[in-house]
């Protein structure tokens, strides 16, 4: 009972390191800490999106040649950043999980990938909706669009792979390896518009020199990006908490069943 309570599922907590990263591997401590952070994170996300979305979607000016279609940007760009930034987070979690065998990193990665896939899907869908009236096509196989589609498949593949094993630890190991192999795609997505000519336009915000957006469009975009990032983090944190609790319940039930069997 005691050993079950402090571990995540079947895996006993590695006994040696009490400090360092494994300080946060204690699920009880994680639940306490994240429980305190989560309401603030959620409130910050709701507040920021409550300002950013109306500002972008209704009160910001149209573009001189795109007209109102430019407003798709306020969803599309944050989702694209989250698709890539979230994947960088997945890669870091996978390193923690592979090298340090950090059990919470396993769980966080498992709960991160469906949200990452959702962000990437929204990025692709909004981009397509913008492409039809602006470019004249829903889709082209240029380097940027293709590499983002690959990123989407990597997210989906990770989400499916970690759930495909009966042994959850094995699934996490396989998922981490896939995530790290797929990490080569992130710089390709980012720099595809610079390395090769594409139909997709080059970066406007994160380029050398001044951003190519007028501040009346740039500021609401940055607020929306911050809001979606906070919401993304809140979702992943809430899912990870739920997963930790699920594991605990399962461990308790197993222990109870074992006790009942012994009695």
């Amino acid at each position: 009972m005691e050993t079950v309570d402090t571990s995540l599922g079947a895996r006993p907590l590695s006994p040696a390191p009490r400090g360092g990263l494994h300080r946060f591997a204690n699920p009880g401590r994680f639940l306490r800490l994240s429980g305190r952070v989560l309401p603030w994170l959620t409130a910050a996300a709701v507040l920021t999106l409550g300002i950013g979305l109306p500002w972008g979607l209704f009160f910001s000016p149209p573009d001189w040649q795109q007209g109102e279609t430019v407003r798709i940007l306020y969803i599309h760009v944050p989702m694209a950043w989250l698709a890539m930034g979230g994947y960088a987070g997945l890669a870091i979690g996978s390193i923690l999980s592979l090298i340090w065998r950090h059990p919470l990193a396993d769980l966080a990665c498992r709960e991160l990938s469906p949200i990452g896939a959702l962000a990437t899907a929204l990025c692709l869908a909004t981009g397509s909706l913008w492409g039809k009236p602006m470019w004249g096509t829903w889709w082209v196989w240029d380097a940027r669009l293709t590499s983002v589609l690959v990123l989407f498949f990597l997210w989906l593949g990770h989400a499916a792979l970690v759930r495909a094993f009966d042994d959850t630890e094995r699934g996490a190991r396989m998922g981490a390896i896939l995530a790290l192999i797929g990490a080569v795609n992130v710089p390709i997505v980012k720099f595809s518009v610079d390395w090769w000519n594409t139909l997709h336009q080059p970066a406007s915000v994160t380029r050398l020199g001044a951003p190519g957006l007028h501040v009346d469009i740039l500021y609401p975009l940055l607020v929306c990006a911050l809001g979606f990032t906070l919401a993304f983090m809140a979702l992943v944190l809430a899912r990870t908490r739920a997963a930790v609790m699920e594991r605990r319940i399962r461990a308790l039930e197993l222990a109870a069943a074992r006790r009942a069997e012994a009695a």
């Binding site: 573009d63 040649q65 001044a210 007028h214």
Partner: protein, 172 residues
């Protein structure tokens, strides 16, 4: 060497191998990864006459002629340029809304024996600048930008411009 540091070195080694393999593959396929070819590429090495490819560049100022074919379909003739070279293009069909002189386009088609590119598809390309109509008008009025001649001036000269004032800030 502990197991942890062995795993760390393994991972670094794998990352190095995978990274260089990807870099080599991408540079080997460099020519196939470009979405379109520029008029300068065509001038340097013209593709064979019956091979379809994409030609991209800016629509040359003053080159657009819109006509109606005998069967009532819209037709357009224009030149695609990258500054150094230009290629004449003909296209039958509806042009995208963003199509105009000075705008980036990507066209799919074949190069005819007379050096004219017969396009079956024209896509407009958007550049990386976004500005409210008032700012674009102010830039045009003050003579700092003629959209028909290409992209806007450096973003630092206009991205904080108050739409009310007609004069953009000088320099960057």
């Amino acid at each position: 060497m502990t197991r942890k540091s062995r795993r760390l070195w393994m991972l670094l080694l794998c990352a190095l191998g995978l990274g260089s393999a990807t870099a080599l593959t991408l540079s080997a396929f460099q020519d196939n990864l470009v979405f379109f070819r520029s008029p300068s590429d065509i001038a340097r090495e013209a593709p064979t006459a019956d091979r379809a490819f994409r030609l991209g560049g800016l629509v040359e100022t003053g080159s657009v002629v819109r006509e109606t074919a005998p069967d009532g379909k819209p037709e357009a003739r224009f030149r695609v340029t990258d500054g150094a070279h230009g290629v004449p293009v003909t296209y039958a069909g509806v042009l995208p809304d963003l199509f105009r002189e000075g705008q980036g386009v990507v066209t799919l088609g074949r190069l005819g024996p007379d050096g004219t590119f017969r396009a079956s598809e024209v896509l407009a390309r958007h550049d990386e600048s976004y500005m409210p109509p008032e700012v674009a008008d102010a830039l045009k009025r003050s003579g700092h930008w003629n959209p028909n001649q290409g992209g806007p001036p450096p973003a630092a000269t206009w991205n904080t411009l108050e739409p009310a004032s007609a004069q953009p800030r000088r320099g960057s």
